[in-house]
Symmetry: C2
Subunit: 194 residues, 2 copies
């Protein structure tokens, strides 16, 4: 089986990062569906380090505001939902449950560089699954890296082992507010055969 | 528009990481189709740092072998294609072309921590797009982090600004060789609302 052309368009070829959204809300049920889909995407040793904080209230958005770059402020305040995509540096404590056929927890204990690279890599993979799962459900995304991670961590994750990675505005995009799509690198610029 | 249930199954819900593949080859045309799809996935400032090296010959696989963890050796030697997912730390030199409406190159020049985190984050996002685009084309993936990145970089990327991130075996999976699916974290363990 392969995806049909219209499904490839929905996920990749015609999908766009959105800066403005309609007033249509994103429901709790949609966010739970999103989780049910993205959680099945692969991570190394099933480590599943991503954590998601969904900001929906004006109060929560205003806590985020001081951390945003100027170009990301207004569109984020206006988005129906802003998701903070983070990862838990204590992810390996869950490995006896998530990867029961080996002592995978022991691979990580005391190895901070491996903990950090594994959390960042796999949390980011799950962030990509989040974006594509949202598109699969008919939602639109506005992913952003332009913010102060340390400020977000202090405001939302103080006293925890969770660190912020990137942000995603979520909602139903307003196609009239899109910029033209930027060019991509050609196949022979990014792929080689050996 | 939303994806139909069978498409969600293909990409996420029934898809599995494969350890063994049939003899059916992966064609050049399939790899070019894979690029044409995954390249449209979003990256910050369209920076598109991922680079892909497709190992298909016995000679290329044997150069990879010394870098693999023991558990990843045999299945990788047997896979029709092994893709090295890497990222180019000089990605920002392409930004005048990829993001022409701002001087985004200047954001990065001389800022090594920002270069490294941006390349790793966005190259990993593109690695996830790679996995899902492959599944969308009917291919199966076996992603792996269990290898020595420094050895792979020395063998395949010496004298370049490309660094390895993770590996993906590609082909048509043999479902008879799958392990049972491991459990996932529940929604309330990884998602919160504010």
């Amino acid at each position: 089986m392969k995806l049909e052309a219209d499904a490839l368009d929905l996920l990749f070829r015609e999908a766009r990062s959105h800066n403005a959204f309609t007033d249509e809300p994103v429901t709790d049920n949609e966010l739970y569906q999103l989780h049910a889909i993205l959680k099945q995407g692969p991570t190394s040793a099933n480590c599943s380090p991503a954590r998601f904080l969904f900001l929906r209230t004006k109060e929560a958005k205003q806590k985020l505001a001081p951390a945003l770059s100027s170009g990301n402020h207004d569109k984020t305040m206006a988005a129906p939902v802003t998701a903070i995509i983070g990862h838990d540096l204590a992810f390996y404590e869950q490995l006896p449950r998530l990867f029961p056929h080996a002592d995978a927890r022991a691979w990580f204990v005391g190895n901070e560089p491996l903990i950090e690279s594994t959390a960042f890599r796999n949390g980011t993979l799950q962030g990509a699954y989040f974006i594509l799962a949202a598109r699969a459900l008919g939602l639109d995304c506005g992913p952003m890296s332009g913010f102060d991670n340390a400020k977000v961590d202090a405001e939302f994750f103080a006293g925890t082992t969770v660190k912020s990675n990137f942000l995603v505005n979520l909602g139903y995009g307003d196609p009239g507010k899109l910029f033209p799509r930027s060019p991509r690198l050609a196949a022979d610029e990014i792929a080689r055969f050996a």
